[in-house]
Amino acid sequence: MNLNYSEEQTMLREQIQKFCESEYDFYKREDIVKSDKDFDENVWSLFAEQGWLSMPFSEESGGFGFGPVELSVLFEEFGKALVIEPYLSTVVLSGTLLDKSNYSAKLEVIEAICSGSMHVSLAYAEAAKSYEYNSPSCSISDMKLNGTKTLVLNGSNASKVIVSCLHNNELALAILDTNADGVSQNTFSTIDGQSCSEIIFENVSITEEAIFAVGEEANTLLNETLNLATLCVGAEAVGCMTSCYLKTVEYTKGRDQFDQPISNFQVLQHRMVDMFIESELAKSLLFKAMLEVDANSDEKFKHVSALKAHVGKSGKISAQDAVQLHGGMGVSDEMMIGHYLKKMISIDALFGNADHHLNLFSS
C-alpha cells in the first residue's frame, strides 16, 4: 500500500498552486466572472501552454495519458482558488469522452482542445429528467435531431456540442457544430459564476459519422464520463472544504472582539475542528474514489457516489459554518469566503445531489 502522491503528482500540484497564487487571485476571478465570456482567453492559453488541457488524454490522441489521480489533484487546487475556467466542460466532459470513443474525427477535435483553440460542451441533461441521463427525450429520426437540452455547461463558448439522444430507440451520442442550422441557445448564469445554456435542436441535420456511439457503447461512454466528472467536482469540493477551514482559522485569529481574537473562544474552535475533520474525511473518500476509478474496478461508481454524497452534505455545512464564523463579512460578496458556499451549492446540484448519491451508494 502507498497512499502518497508521486513526485510527478506533487510537482503538478505545486505548479497549479503557483499559477493560482500568481495569476488567479480572487479579484482576477471576479473580473472574469463579470466579463461576457465567463472565462479568460489568456488564462485558457496558459492552461494550454502548461499542458493542462492535454493532461487526461491518451498518448495516441496527443495527450499525457494522466488519469483520475492527476485530474483530482488539478480539481482540488481549482477548488481552493475557485477557478471557474470551463475545464470540466471542455476537457473532462467532452474531451475525455471523445478520447475514449470511436468518433472518426476525434483527433482533430482533441488537438483543438489541447491547443486551447476550441471549446466543446456535453449536453447530457434535460428538464424533467432529474439525474436520469440515460433515457433522453431528444431524438434523431430521419437523420434530424430534435429536442431541448438544459444545463449545458459553457454552451455559449462551445463551437461543438455532444448530444445524448435516442436513435432507433437506443441511446446515442452525436456531435455537431453549435452554429449548425436549427441550433439555438439561451445562456444563463450559474450560482458559482460560470454560465450554462439551454440548447434547442429543431430539425438539425445529422450525418452518420456524427453519431459516434450507440446502445451499450453510448451508455458506457456517458456513464464513465459522468462518473469521472463527478469525481472531479468531488475533488474540487475537497479543495473548497480545505480552504474553508484554513481561511476561517486565519480570519478568527485576526478578528478581535471582547479584547481578544475570537479564535480564543472554544465554541468557535470546535466548529473549526469539525470543519477540519469533515474535510479530512472528504479527502479520504476522494482517495478511495480516485483509486477505484484509476483501477477501473467494479466499485468505481459506488465510491464516487460516496464522495459526492459526503461533500454534498458536509461540504455545504462546512461552507455555511465558514460564512457564519466570518460574521457579516461572510455574507459580503467582496469576500472570497461566501463564494465557497456558492461553489458548494453548484457542486451539490451537478450530476446528482447528496441524497441521490447516497441512494446510489446504498443500492
Partner: protein, 390 residues
C-alpha cells in the same frame, strides 16, 4: 391550561385576516410578494402607510403615544397573521427600535418631533450600530461625537446598515467619552441622513442584493438636542432597544407560510428523503410555536421570560434557514442556475422549476439571520449565562 385563544382574541385575529384579504394589504405589494418579485422603496412605503392608516403601526407601543396597547397575545397573533399572509416584514428600525427608545428616554420635544412621523411612516429610519471593528462586541465602538457648542461633530463609520440607501434618519451609537469602561461614554443620537458629511456606500451580499451599507461620517454636525436621554447613557438605551428587537424574531408565521409553499413543491416531486426533511422542519416549527406561546403566557401572567427569548432567535433563524435549504435541494439540478437576487425579469427563463431562482436568493440571503441581531453564538452565551447560570 387551555391552548385555545379567547373569544376576543379570535375576533381580533379575524379582524386582521379580514384586513389582509379584503383590500387592506395593498394589492400591488401582495402580488409582488406572492410572486417573489422585488419590492421598490415606494412599495414598502405604500405597505407601511396602509398599516398605519389602519392604526396598526404602533403595534408594540402604549396607547398614550398613539400605539395599539395590544396584549402580548394580540401582538403575537398580529405578527403571525402578517407572516402567514406573506406580508413583507414591517421595518423594525422606526417603530420597533428607535420609537420605544424615544418615548421611554426622550424628552417631550423629541417625542413630539419624531413619534408621529414614525407612526405615519413619514420617516424611514435606519440603525447605526455595528462598526467594522465592532460586531458582537458592540460596546467597543469607536465612532466619535465631540461636543462643539450647540452641536456634536461626528466622525467614524458604521457598517451592515440595512436599507440606509432608503433612509431619512439614522439613530447612531457614538462614543462621547473614551476614558473608563467601554460601555460607559456611549451616547444615542439621532441624525438626519441629509446632513453634510454622511456618505452611504453599498455592500453587495452573496445573493447579489444591495440591502446593507457602510455609512461614513466625516465632520457631521448634529444639533446637541438630538441626543436621546443623557449623554453617556447610550449603552443602557441600546440594550433596551435590542430587547425590543427580540419580539417577532421567531418569525413563526412567516416560516409557516414558507412551509406550506414548500409542501406544495415537494408534493410534486415524490422524493421520500425530501418529505422526511419537510416533516422534521414542520415539527421544529410546531415546537417553536408552542415555545413562543409559553413565553407569552408567562409574560401575560406577569413573568419575565428574559433570556429564554434567545431560544426564539436561535431556533427561529435555524428554521428559516432550514426551509430555504430544503427548497434549494428540491430544485435539484436547477440549483445550478442563478440569475441574481431579482430573478430573470422579462428575460428568457430556463425550463427548470419556477421556484428555483427565488429559492437560491432566499437561501443565500437567509445566511445573515444567524449572524445579525446578536449572532446565534452570542445568544447561546446569553442563555448559558443568564438561564443556566454557568
Amino acid at each position: 391550561m387551555d391552548l385555545n385563544f379567547s373569544k376576543e382574541d379570535i375576533q381580533f385575529r379575524d379582524e386582521i385576516r379580514d384586513w389582509l384579504t379584503n383590500g387592506g394589504y395593498p394589492e400591488h405589494v401582495k402580488y409582488k410578494q406572492d410572486n417573489d418579485e422585488p419590492l421598490t422603496r415606494q412599495d414598502m412605503v405604500d405597505f407601511h402607510k396602509a398599516v398605519s392608516a389602519k392604526g396598526w403601526m404602533g403595534y408594540n407601543w402604549p396607547v398614550e403615544y398613539g400605539g395599539t396597547g395590544w396584549s402580548p397575545t394580540q401582538l403575537y397573533i398580529y405578527n403571525q397573521e402578517f407572516g402567514k399572509a406573506g406580508c413583507p416584514p414591517l421595518l423594525a428600525f422606526g417603530v420597533s427600535m428607535v420609537g420605544p427608545v424615544i418615548y421611554t428616554f426622550g424628552n417631550d420635544e423629541q417625542k413630539k418631533r419624531f413619534l408621529p412621523d414614525i407612526l405615519e411612516f413619514n420617516t424611514w429610519w435606519c440603525q447605526g450600530y455595528s462598526e467594522p471593528g465592532s460586531g458582537s462586541d458592540l460596546a467597543s465602538l469607536k465612532t466619535k461625537a465631540v461636543r462643539d457648542g450647540d452641536h456634536y461633530i461626528i466622525n467614524g463609520s458604521k457598517t451592515w446598515t440595512t436599507l440606509a440607501q432608503s433612509a431619512d434618519w439614522i439613530f447612531v451609537l457614538v462614543r462621547t467619552e473614551s476614558t473608563g469602561k467601554k460601555q460607559e461614554g456611549i451616547s444615542f443620537i439621532l441624525v438626519d441622513m441629509k446632513t453634510p458629511g454622511i456618505e452611504v456606500k453599498p455592500i453587495i451580499t452573496i445573493d447579489g442584493e444591495h440591502e446593507v451599507n457602510s455609512v461614513f461620517f466625516t465632520d457631521v454636525k448634529v444639533p446637541a438636542e438630538n441626543i436621546v436621554g443623557e449623554e453617556g447613557k447610550g449603552w443602557t438605551y441600546a440594550k433596551f432597544l435590542l430587547a425590543h428587537e427580540r419580539f417577532g424574531i421567531a418569525a413563526v408565521g412567516a416560516s409557516m407560510r414558507e412551509l406550506s409553499r414548500l409542501k406544495d413543491v415537494v408534493k410534486e416531486i415524490n422524493n421520500p428523503e425530501l418529505d422526511k426533511k419537510v416533516a422534521e422542519v414542520e415539527l421544529s416549527i410546531s415546537a417553536l410555536e408552542l415555545t413562543e406561546l409559553r413565553l407569552l403566557s408567562a409574560l401575560e401572567n406577569g413573568g419575565n421570560p428574559g433570556a429564554e427569548s434567545s431560544i426564539l432567535k436561535i431556533k427561529g433563524t435555524e428554521i428559516q434557514q432550514r426551509l430555504t435549504e430544503i427548497f434549494v435541494e428540491a430544485a435539484g439540478e436547477y440549483a445550478l442556475m442563478y440569475p441574481g437576487a431579482h430573478g430573470y425579469g422579462s428575460n428568457d427563463k430556463p425550463s427548470g422549476p419556477e421556484f428555483a431562482a427565488a429559492s437560491l436568493s432566499k437561501y443565500l440571503n437567509m445566511r445573515k439571520t444567524s449572524i445579525y441581531g446578536g449572532s446565534n453564538e452570542i445568544q447561546k452565551n446569553i442563555i448559558s449565562k443568564f438561564v443556566l447560570g454557568v
